[in-house]
């Protein structure tokens, strides 16, 4: 494929899309599929065929539209109008009604009868949508992830074409540096710096890896990006590979994400067929190809060196750094590992410029961040908000506030490596630095909201149980420290703890933070420590629960001591 063919194909597809009177975007992501999205699409197609409207209406299976708690979602786009209509919680029956009572009459020049359908309409001007800025998720919900031309029609591979034909690797690095983009996997290492190290590293066969080993409980940003817009990630990888001089790309995706794997696989195949992957891409001298490696689901394999070990067929355990993977990584080659979301930003930055990207966010945290917003909220789902937005806006405007009516108590960011942030700190802007100051971390984007009914002690235990289970067992502080912390926490939960146990928790936690080899162990105590920091009284209630065995505890939580 030549660069101009991208434009030709994009225009051809755009014309095709415009020829439809209606386009029905149906969320076809794992979440909505589990609530029946496939049979809904079948029903839509059946009804359209019955109405003889199949050629006038396109049913577009798409990636995630964001408001997962109200799925399955269908977005109806009518040719010639800019106002789309979104239908929520669609069922097979309401889908049929949608065609019969809403689409068909309009096709025949009539007026739609909303009737019962009215209650399924979700206004698109609610804060959940309006407060979001979509860069990474720009295509999610609007393209068929399995169609390359859909991606092309939305400026797909334009950035890659620009980079390959008119930019030098240094210019690419400069653009990314200007954007201020930092690694979205959680640590926030500047992407341009990482690429620069790999670029300067000596090696014949540099490798770029897309880290799709998302594992935080409740987090599914990367899965959705891969399911919704796989070509954007491939394009980001290709640009990164060009910047650092790599010719090989590897998607490391956990095997529990079959749909993401399937779509990335198809995207790679399609891109290869179109000459967007392979040798002499777009008529340039640049060669680049991708392959997929599956992770077996160990949380620790998201850590770069463990990920590398896993691909090499070894036990998935981290190794000390240096040497850093960018110098000596997979198969001893310079290896750059970027998170899915990081890579999904790249093409947009190249098209719109680093300065545009840097105009969003705070001083040190630029652009947007995708969060998986879950917990005791009205609106749960996948959101993308500009850095610098306060936690309050995210929780109360985007998230719609408490879903239960019980006041919101805290949010957990950064998953099991992060910490609890109490409601009194909700005016803190979202940035790597601000969250760290509060004793939590940005993490990869899990954001779990808790209300007053949730017990902090139980939440801390939940996360700790996760990290203890996921510890690779290589180093003593994490391996044994985590388990002992868990036992100490259980002792307190059961009303058998004492002040000495709290002291011991702090002591073991310090050893884990300072002595663990990788981030998993270093951050595993965070949920407990932030719990102690902000909600000490909840621990004290359990400590003072002397008659726990009789069920006399007044702490108000459904704790193990009450079971006795």
């Amino acid at each position: 494929m030549k660069p101009e063919e991208i434009t030709i194909k994009a225009q051809a597809r755009a014309a095709e899309q415009q020829a439809y009177a209606f386009r029905l975007f149906c969320c076809d992501s794992t979440g909505c599929i589990s609530s029946g999205a496939i049979s809904i699409q079948d029903a839509l197609n059946e009804e359209l065929a019955a109405a003889g409207a199949a050629e006038k209406v396109e049913v577009v299976p798409t990636g995630c539209m964001g408001l997962c708690s109200l799925g399955p979602l269908i977005r109806v786009s009518r040719q010639g109008t800019s106002e789309d209509v979104l239908f929520k919680e669609v069922t097979v029956d309401s889908a049929r009604t949608l065609i019969k009572d809403y689409i068909a009459p309009q096709l025949n020049g009539g007026v739609p009868e909303l009737g019962e359908l009215a209650k399924f309409i979700l206004p698109l001007d609610i804060p959940f949508f309006k407060k979001q800025i979509k860069i990474v998720l720009a295509n999610a919900g609007l393209v068929d992830p399995e169609r390359l031309d859909d991606y092309l029609a939305r400026d797909g591979y334009v950035a890659a074409s620009k980079v390959l034909t008119s930019m030098s690797p240094d210019q690419v690095l400069a653009e990314i540096r200007d954007s201020g983009l930092r690694g979205r996997g959680g640590a926030g290492f500047p992407t341009a710096t990482k690429w620069g190290i790999a670029r300067n590293a000596v090696g014949d066969n540099k490798i770029i890896i897309c880290n799709g080993d998302e594992g935080d409980p409740g987090a599914y940003m990367d899965r959705c990006v891969l399911e919704s817009d796989p070509h954007a990630v491939i394009e980001g990888m290709m640009i990164g590979a060009f910047a650092m001089g790599a010719n090989q790309g590897i998607f490391y995706i956990r095997a529990e994400y079959p749909l993401a794997v399937e779509r990335v696989e198809k995207a790679i195949k399609d891109a290869r067929k179109a000459g967007l992957l392979g040798k002499a891409i777009l008529g340039t001298s640049f060669n680049f190809d991708c392959e997929i490696r599956l992770g077996a689901g160990a949380f620790v394999c998201g850590e770069e060196t463990a990920l590398i070990a896993s691909i090499e067929g070894k036990r998935g355990t981290p190794r000390p750094r240096p040497p850093f993977p960018a110098i000596k990584g997979l198969w001893n080659q310079p290896t750059c590992i970027n998170n899915v979301e990081t890579l999904a930003n790249i093409a947009r930055i190249i098209i719109k410029g680093g300065k545009w990207y840097a105009s969003m966010g705070t001083e040190k945290s630029k652009g947007t961040k995708v969060f998986a917003l879950t917990g005791k909220l009205k609106n749960s789902g996948l959101v993308e908000v500009p850095m610098g937005m306060t936690l309050r806006e995210v929780v109360f405007d985007v998230g719609g506030g408490s879903g239960s009516g019980t006041p919101i108590k805290a949010i957990q960011t950064g998953g099991p490596s992060g910490g609890l942030i109490p409601a009194e700190h909700f005016d803190t802007p979202i940035s790597y630095e601000h969250l760290q100051q509060l004793g939590s971390i940005m993490g990869s984007g899990g954001l779990i909201v808790m209300d007053e009914d949730d017990s902090v002690v139980d939440i801390a235990r939940f996360y700790l149980d996760f990290t203890v289970d996921e510890s690779c067992g290589k180093c003593a502080p994490c391996r044994i420290g985590g388990k002992q912390l868990l036992l100490l926490l259980d002792k307190i939960r059961e009303g058998k703890g004492s002040e000495a146990d709290v002291t011991m928790i702090k002591r073991v936690a310090l050893a884990m933070q300072k002595g663990s080899l990788c981030g998993l162990g270093q951050t595993a105590p965070n949920p407990v420590l932030s719990g102690l920091r902000y909600f000490r009284e909840e621990f004290d209630e359990r400590l003072n629960c002397k008659d726990g065995a009789k069920g006399g505890c007044s702490c108000g939580h459904d704790s193990p001591c009450k079971a006795n």
Binding site: A298, R315, R319, P320, P322, V468, D469, E470, S471, C472, G473, K474, C475, A476, P477, R479, I480, G481, G482, K483, Q484, L487, M504, R507, V508, L510, A511, K514, G515, S516, L517
Partner: protein, 581 residues
């Protein structure tokens, strides 16, 4: 060279030096449990944390290279506190069985706990109830005592290339085990014991058979005889405060006598005998074209086992000679008994070896019973002997030296250097030259055979012939050598070597898996030096000069490779599956 500051002192070090090694230069001792000087860092324990003063962060000294200008602090209350907590965590998943542990008094974990003054168990003990693996009869694996430092796995996989041990499960359930969790004796384990030599705790120890020996020493009907291997004499002293390499042959004989052994022999005699047989084999193959070249040495049982499991296509190249202690065992129950009118059935032969694999070798196949009964009844390691000497109340430092018993006690310098890597080769070459030329060697040393380089290759002039040799020690070094042979054979090219010596343990037997703990290259070199000094100081430098060897052939065996020699001193090999099921 770069400079950095540690605890306020400036140190100049080559780039790439770890913080641990840099601190050593300033006489600062940073505690470690997982890092062993022989091995790459595994970064598993976390005890070696130090502080980078510029950002306050803690770094692991074992695996972090010093960067130019670094300002480091190795000890402050918080650092020491973290180390103590990590130790307490380890102790919370370690059985509190120090008093009955094989490593008590010589355990790195125990020592650190003492250093850190750990007096209470504040955390609940969560040691899992895992069974011991005693299946090999050579080493015993107690996964409960394992602190998952990874040394054994690294030594077994990377250094020895055996791949018997690995980590199984994850998180708190992580444990050392064989692949597939099968018993060790069904795994590729060759019993070299390097895992036990590198284990910081009592998780892997030798199978202690001293009890059997004590029982026999009390048995009025038993005639207990003993022999000590070359490498034992220069290492046993370490258990009694002597420096590595101190040659304590006479004291060891004396201690054995005091313990009740009726006759004390020396495996070095067997080494001399091995040389006569093996050098003859070499001359047969090299000069007379009878048999395959290169000839490969066979005195290391772990190597023999490894070869049978991994390189069985080399069987034709193997020397058929038994190892020296087996030769002494066979002769003790035949030649010696006949000459002294003793009932061989009453003779109980104990060999003191630097080796755990010898425990397996004594029952290797039916050739190990060439006297009509098992030739060597029990094989003890140096470590077991040291404990027995202590149990016997013998003040090893002061005990007067003794002499070995004839007919199987006298030895040449060539016999004694068997204990160091390259020693067998050197000893064999000395005698081979004599066999070919009939002349006495002017200079007996073959320096190319000495030292700790993993693979030593040389082309030597032996009586006017070009002889290409290779010496590998540490099983991980074998592959390259045998592959060269395979390649040349496949291509029909000239053989890369005529004679190959292999010892399973790094440094040869001085670094054996049954030697006193704490082995490093420094210790290996010191022990080897002790053997080479004895060689230099000896009356006989060549095995064939040993008059007792001459007498043995004259009166009993006839000549090397005779029918009787073959019956008593030689063995055969078979292909063994790497996994037994």
């Amino acid at each position: 060279m770069i400079t950095a500051t540690i605890n306020g002192n400036v140190v100049e070090i080559p780039e790439g030096t770890s913080i641990l090694d840099a601190a050593k230069r300033l006489a600062i001792k940073i505690p470690v449990l997982c890092k062993h000087p022989d091995l790459d860092h595994t970064a598993a324990c976390g005890i070696c944390v130090v502080r980078n003063k510029s950002n306050g962060r803690m770094l692991r000294a074992c695996c972090t290279p010093v960067e130019a200008g670094m300002d480091l602090l190795t000890h402050d209350p918080e650092i020491v506190g973290v180390r103590r907590t990590i130790l307490e965590l380890m102790m919370s998943k370690h059985p509190n069985e120090c008093l009955t542990c094989g490593r008590s008094g010589d355990c790195e974990l125990q020592t650190l706990c003492q250093d850190f003054g750990i007096r209470r168990e504040e955390l609940p003990n969560i040691t899992p109830d895992l069974p011991k693996d005693c299946s090999t009869g050579t080493i015993e694996l107690d996964p409960r005592k394992c602190i998952s430092c990874g040394r054994c796995v690294q030594v077994c996989q990377d250094k020895q290339n055996v791949w018997a041990l690995s980590f199984l499960d994850r998180g708190i359930d992580t444990r050392i085990a064989t692949a597939g969790d099968i018993p060790l004796n069904e795994s590729p384990c060759v019993s070299c014991g390097q895992c036990s030599a590198h284990c910081p705790t009592g998780a892997i120890v030798e199978h202690d058979e001293s009890g059997i020996v004590w029982d026999k020493l009390q048995d009025p009907d038993a005639i207990c005889v003993v022999q000590i291997a070359p490498a034992v004499r220069v290492a046993i002293g370490e258990a009694f405060g002597f420096a590595p390499g101190a040659n304590l042959t006479g004291k060891t004989y004396a201690a054995l006598r005091q313990m009740g052994f009726k006759y004390v022999f020396d495996t070095n005699f067997g080494a001399d005998l091995t040389i006569l047989e093996e050098a003859s084999e070499f001359v047969e193959r090299f000069a007379n074209g009878k048999g395959e070249l290169p000839l490969i040495t066979s005195c290391c049982p772990a190597w023999v086992d490894f070869m049978e499991k991994y390189h069985s296509d080399m069987i034709g190249h193997f020397s058929s000679c038994k190892s020296p202690h087996e030769m002494v065992g066979a002769l003790a129950k035949t030649y010696f008994c006949e000459r002294n009118n003793l009932d061989p059935k009453k003779v109980f032969m104990v060999s003191i070896m630097p080796c755990t694999a010898k425990k397996m070798e004594i029952k290797r196949n039916e050739d190990m019973a060439s006297s009509g009964m098992q030739d060597v009844d029990v094989s003890l390691t140096t470590r077991e002997l040291a404990r027995m000497i202590k149990q016997a109340g013998i003040d090893f430092a002061w005990i007067p030296e003794s002499q070995p018993d004839h007919l199987l006690g006298a030895y040449s310098g060539a016999g004694t250097i068997f204990g160091a890597t390259g020693g067998v080769m050197e000893a064999a070459l000395r005698t081979a030259v004599h066999m070919v030329t009939g002349e006495k060697l002017g200079k007996v040393e073959f320096e190319a055979t000495r030292g700790l380089k993993g693979i030593k290759e040389a082309t030597l002039n032996v009586a006017g012939h070009e002889v290409r040799i290779a010496i590998a020690h540490g099983l991980g070094n074998v592959e390259m050598v045998v592959n060269k042979v395979r390649e040349a054979k496949a291509k029909g090219e000239p053989l890369p070597y005529h004679f190959i010596e292999v010892m399973a343990c790094p440094g040869g037997c001085v670094g054996g898996g049954g030697q006193p703990y704490g082995v490093t290259d420094e210790v290996r070199l010191a022990r080897a030096k002790g053997l080479y000094s004895e060689d230099t100081a000896g009356v006989w430098r060549n095995s064939h000069e040993n008059p007792y060897i001459q007498e043995l052939y004259r009166t009993y065996l006839d000549k090397p490779l005779s029918e009787k020699s073959h019956h008593l001193l030689h063995t055969h090999y078979k292909v063994r599956p790497t996994y037994q099921r």
